[in-house]
């Protein structure tokens, strides 16, 4: 039988916030009679330095082995009291916090009911603290280098940032050159600044910086084919092709992985029902024509742009389109029509460009539910687009009139999709993808660069549409997160994560499938020659989903064991 705990109960009146709503005298009288309660006392502000000093002293003097602090919400002062208890030489799990201020004193109108509720909560904490055991901590050695996949602007910037923070970086690029999308005609896919900064120069500078950095190791024509282990100790297998297309396999030990695989443009002919020709081109092709020089627009007097047919979200493409048309009107004096659902100007400086475009004589036409029809008239060799503009009013169409735009060249917008190989990589890394095929972030607003696996991060356009400024922000964010994670060689952590009882485990693998963070793996025990479940403590985040799903009750979460939860519920009900 375990030794009876000596428990101390510290009540905090929080000035008079708690004491005026709850009858402290009644509580003290009630708990004095309990055998295991060695000490029960009232303090005015437990979080004040002087009172905290006395609190630590009393723990030592009375040789207490269990503590109940009755104060404010653990969300506010939880870590603060845990730290104080550790300093007094007691394990943090031997402390139980009762939230008397927020969830009792402040929410009940009558003193009687709040006192009753307070007694119930303290009694259940008392019952629970008897079941709580000290939680040990463990130290492990981790790898401090990072594997960055993708040599585009996102990957380059992340590698530079990490090397500045003192980490070794391995940069993988599938192609034989660095730079990513910057090398394709779709330069305007990436917005850098509204000032005329040449993006290509910026990227070339970054490539040079990466090449000259001794902390960054670059592998071109290399792909990740296998990843084992978990955060801090990933074992990556990469395949490198040399000039003669010979394959070489290399094993690397890395602490974290950054995905910066980016996106690509794709013309969905099936969705449009149109094939590209000399008169119907995509936006990338148009950019190619612009880049190639003066003669490309000979004999063209009008161009029509149609956008919004395949997808509504044009935050980035709107910017690209407006820049292209401004360039064309200024330099070639071509009449331009833009047929779209809505003009999206929700970004810095876009409104100004739109105004300029209107002033230059570009005609914007709106369509609604009905999609514009595209026809090629062979007699005049012109393309005709007929549309239903709701702004013209119903009368216009009732009279049998029709709005038809005829032009020499038709430009259609493209879809932005994840880079090829994104799906394959997500399967290798066991991370989830969203509906459009981009890597899914853990929480879109709180943890945007995290994935469901700890230690694997996503940067830039591979997690959704991003322009260059957003991508650079991302890489800064990721670099700091990785530095935070891997700054020290040895990591100390508490063993308050899920624990598996090998005797009860029937190897049904339910936990392996349910774990959202893929922290559970199968492990071969070579001594006993059997397979068993292994939970990686660093990757486990202690959510307890596997514990409640385990059909054999073989898993346990030491801070939230079934016994403890049930005891807490049972005592609260009496």
């Amino acid at each position: 039988m375990p030794q009876r705990k000596k428990i101390g109960i510290f009540l905090c009146s929080c000035g008079d916030t708690i004491s005026k709503a709850v009858n402290f005298k009644k509580i003290i009288d009630y708990f004095k009679s309990f055998k295991e309660v060695k000490l029960i006392e009232e303090n005015s502000f437990l979080c004040k330095p002087e009172t905290l000093f006395n609190f630590k002293k009393k723990i030592k003097d009375n040789n207490l082995s269990g503590l109940i602090v009755v104060a404010c919400s653990p969300q506010l002062k939880g870590t603060f009291f845990k730290k104080a208890v550790e300093e007094a030489g007691l394990n943090f799990n031997l402390l139980s916090l009762v939230n008397l201020r927020e969830q009792c004193a402040m929410v009940y109108k009558e003193k009687e009911s709040s006192t009753k509720s307070a007694i119930d909560s303290i009694a259940s904490a008392l019952r629970r603290i008897k079941l709580q055991l000290p939680i040990a901590s463990k130290t492990v050695k981790i790898e401090q280098n990072t594997l960055v996949i993708g040599g585009g602007i996102a990957g380059l910037q992340t590698a530079i940032n990490l090397s500045k923070l003192g980490h070794l970086v391995v940069l993988l690029e599938r192609e034989s050159f660095l730079g990513g999308n910057i090398n394709i005609n779709s330069v305007s896919l990436i917005k850098y600044d509204h000032n005329n900064i040449n993006l290509k120069e910026v990227v070339n500078k970054k490539i040079e910086e990466v090449n000259n950095n001794s902390q960054i190791q670059i592998f071109t024509q290399a792909e990740l084919i296998k990843l084992e282990g978990s955060v801090g100790n990933f074992k990556a297998t990469i395949e490198i092709k040399d000039k003669d297309r010979k394959k070489e396999i290399k094993n690397l030990n890395v602490g974290s992985v950054v995905l910066a695989t980016g996106c690509q443009k794709f013309f969905p002919s099936e969705k449009y029902g149109i094939n590209l020709s000399s008169q119907i081109i995509s936006q990338t092709q148009l950019q190619g024509l612009i880049n190639s020089g003066n003669d490309s627009f000979k004999g063209i007097s009008s161009i029509c742009f149609v956008s919004g047919i395949i997808c509504d979200d044009q935050r980035l493409k709107g910017d690209e389109l407006l820049k292209q048309v401004l360039f064309l009107t200024t330099n070639y004096k071509i009449q331009i029509y833009i047929i779209c659902k809505n003009v999206y100007v929700a970004e810095d400086g876009l409104e100004e460009i739109y105004q300029q475009a209107r002033e230059k004589g570009i005609i914007f036409l709106k369509y609604d539910q009905k999609k514009p029809e595209i026809k090629l008239r062979t007699s005049t060799n012109k393309i005709e687009v007929s549309l239903y503009d709701p702004l013209l009013g119903k009368d216009f169409y009732d009279e049998g009139k029709e709005l038809v735009i005829s032009c020499d060249l038709l430009v259609l917008e493209e879809e932005i999709i994840p880079a090829p190989g994104t799906k394959k990589l997500s399967e290798i890394l066991q991370i989830s993808c969203d509906e459009e095929g981009f890597y899914q972030q853990k929480n879109i607003s709180l943890q945007p660069v995290f994935t469901n696996r700890k230690g694997i991060f996503v940067v830039g356009a591979c997690r959704g549409l991003k322009n260059v400024i957003q991508t650079l922000d991302d890489s800064g964010m990721v670099s700091l997160e990785i530095h935070n994670l891997l700054k020290e060689k040895l990591v100390k952590y508490n063993l308050d994560r899920a624990i598996v009882d090998d005797d009860k485990c029937t190897l049904c693998l339910t936990c392996l499938r349910t774990c959202p963070h893929k922290a559970i793996q199968l492990d071969q025990d070579e001594e006993l020659n059997q397979v068993k479940i292994k939970i990686n403590d660093l990757a486990c985040e202690g959510c307890g989903i596997c514990v409640s799903q385990c059909p054999a009750s073989a898993l346990n979460l030491s801070k939230y064991e079934d016994d403890q939860i049930i005891a807490e519920i049972a005592v609260q009900m009496t």
Binding site: Q75, S113, K442, P516, I545, D562
Partner: protein, 138 residues
């Protein structure tokens, strides 16, 4: 068996809270200066996915008249799918409760965000009213 008069019946409601959302919402309700109609018992969980059917059945067995299981808003679970899993468990549990004659109104799964203090009170009041109409469980 405790046969109370329906007029003086005080419902015993257990609220199983996710520490990342509902528990904070309860704190928020206090900060906003709101007050609960009757005593509720708040039990914290690291994620609502930790909740087991047994915990709810234990609560009902030990004298709870209603159990509220409160998790994060859909799609914003810190641990990706904890709320979805527990929601499924509750659907299954409700079927069992109907079979044994308790009915499916005493257990409810609800979504809440940490900044929804007033909503927390609203949901608790609603549950309180519902359980009061149903009367004591045992």
């Amino acid at each position: 068996m405790n046969l109370k008069n329906k007029n003086e019946f005080i419902p015993q409601i257990v609220v199983l809270c996710c520490e990342n959302s509902a528990y904070r919402a309860a704190d928020m309700a206090a900060t906003l200066g709101l007050s609960y109609p009757e005593i509720i018992k708040i039990i914290p969980f690291p994620c609502i996915g930790r909740v087991d059917e047994r915990h709810i059945l234990h609560a009902l067995e030990n004298g709870a008249d209603g159990v509220m299981v409160m998790g994060c808003l859909e799609g914003s679970c810190k641990f990706l799918d904890g709320d979805v899993r527990t929601k499924k468990k509750i659907v299954y549990l409700k079927k069992t409760l109907v079979e044994i004659g308790i009915g499916d109104a005493r257990v409810e799964f609800l979504h809440i965000a940490p900044n929804m203090g007033a909503k927390f009170l609203e949901l608790v009041t609603e549950m309180n009213k519902k359980i009061k109409e149903l009367g004591p469980l045992f």
